[in-house]
């Protein structure tokens, strides 16, 4: 009997490649004489069809790390009543001008509502300057070569906004969760002072402060995890609730990449101006599918351009049947009231029940598809 494959022709020089499993993936069987060779791998003779090594199953989402940060952001925003809106568009659609107009309008409509902005661009702090001039705090995030903001950047920037302190001051009766991840990589040795104070004067008062001195040698990666756990009773789901504060995240001008990077926002708002093509929603379907609201901006210019608003909306509804639409002009103010309504009512200006029904329908659809596919396979 052949010791390799157990067949009954031990005398023959036969090929052992007839479909049996190798006794051990590391073993190479010599076809000419039956010798077994262990320990040969990529460095030695490669055996066609047999890969070395053990399998490590990861089954991990590539964007898992970002989604984890986004999840923390989302929890934090929900716990503190922050309406976080991720504004996405091509460069030049009028996002910053719209934000300045929005800040002014919100100050009229709801003067006690704190507003903050996180500005994303490759370079310059120009946009953040304009926002501050309009009267709202802003943190500029310069991505350098990066083409989109990610959730970790948003967490870091949000922590620097006075909005953050407001949120803690205004929300009585809860404890909160807070993840501060500080990662420092230093090429040279130097010392680093880092202080962070946090106090709350309300029914569940607790104070929290850190003072750190770090001396580093080069090549040292240093990270902190500060967390304390958190219980919060959310307001009844489904009813539009007025936010305690509003965070606008003006993403880098890019209709492609931001679609994939969850920041932990309540909703993505896609801004399209009438000086762009009306078929943009078809050209950038991922972005318009990911958005909850599309703002058609610069409508004051409609008499001067060939832009068919109804056709644009029809195209957008093709890639996203439940997309909401608001038409406005940041410069004349037309439509801004509807936009404010949408912000303050949590984007449920139409019908929260209908939204719940479509979410359930989508889930039902997925389950039915799964069942059908299993049925087909059987």
């Amino acid at each position: 009997m052949c010791v390799v494959c157990g067949c009954d022709n031990p005398g023959d020089r036969h090929d052992h490649q007839h479909g049996h499993a190798a006794p051990d993936a590391h073993v190479h069987a010599d076809a000419s004489n039956g010798d077994l060779h262990y320990g040969l791998g990529p460095a030695g003779v490669t055996v066609h069809g047999i890969d070395q090594g053990r399998t490590v199953r990861l089954e991990q989402d590539v964007l898992g790390e970002n989604n984890r940060h986004a999840g923390h952001n989302r929890q934090h925003f929900a716990a503190h009543g922050v309406r976080a809106l991720n504004l996405v568009s091509s460069p030049g659609s009028g996002k910053t001008t719209l934000l300045c107009a929005t800040i002014a309008a919100l100050r009229e409509r709801a003067p006690d509502l704190p507003v903050g902005v996180i500005e994303g661009d490759q370079q310059t702090a120009n946009d953040a300057e304009r926002i501050r001039a309009a009267g709202a705090p802003a943190i500029q995030v310069n991505t350098g070569k990066g083409c989109h903001l990610d959730a970790a950047m948003v967490a870091a920037a949000y922590g620097r906004l006075p909005l953050h302190d407001h949120a803690h001051g205004d929300s009585p009766g809860h404890s909160h969760s807070h993840d501060h991840n500080h990662e420092h990589e230093h090429g040279d040795s130097h010392s680093h002072a880092h202080s962070h104070a946090h106090s709350h004067a309300h029914s569940h008062a607790h104070s929290h402060s850190h003072d750190h001195e770090h001396g580093h040698e080069h090549g040292h990666v240093h990270s902190h995890d500060h967390s304390h756990t958190h219980a919060h009773a959310p307001a009844h789901a489904g009813a539009p609730q007025r936010p305690h504060s509003v965070l606008f995240i003006e993403n880098v001008g890019n209709l492609v990449c931001p679609a994939m990077w969850d920041l932990g926002e309540d909703a993505k708002v896609a801004i399209l101006s009438v000086t762009e093509g009306e078929d943009k929603p078809l050209k950038y379907p991922d972005m318009f599918s990911a958005a909850r609201l599309m703002i058609i901006n610069k409508i004051d210019l409609l008499p001067y351009v060939q832009f068919d608003v109804e056709r644009c909306i029809a195209y957008a509804r093709r890639v996203n049947p439940s997309l909401q639409v608001i038409r406005l002009s940041a410069t004349t103010g037309e439509g801004v009231d509807a936009w404010l309504d949408w912000i303050l009512q949590g984007g449920a200006a139409h019908d929260p029940l209908a939204e719940r029904i479509s979410a359930l329908e989508a889930e039902l659809a997925s389950l039915r598809a799964l069942r059908q596919r299993d049925g087909d396979a059987a």
């Binding site: 890969d51 199953r57 990861l58 089954e59 590539v62 964007l63 990610d150 997925s366 598809a369």
Partner: protein, 115 residues
Amino acid sequence: MHEVSLAGGVLAAVEAAAERERFARVNVLRLEVGRLAGVEVDALRFALEAMTPGTCLAGARIEIAEPPGRAWCMNCHCDVSLAARGDPCGRCGSYWLQPNGGTELRIVDMLVDDA
């Protein structure tokens, strides 16, 4: 380009696994990038190959499965294939579609060497 960010994410996940599972080298890395995931597979492969020298992924064979797009058509109540977002249902022509396949972007598993 964000495929570079994604490749960075893949490398970070593999390196974290290497530390956890204590392996030295990856021979085969298997990824799943669905056709509706919005990722350009060639660019991702290029970015990965550019980043792997000197890491535990150096020399690894990278296999990328591209599950086809599928969606549930809420108009004709069928599971249909969907080549791209924004396409109509192949059976009834409606655009009322809910993607339910081909949206994956994940690391499935790896064949590793402990030495």
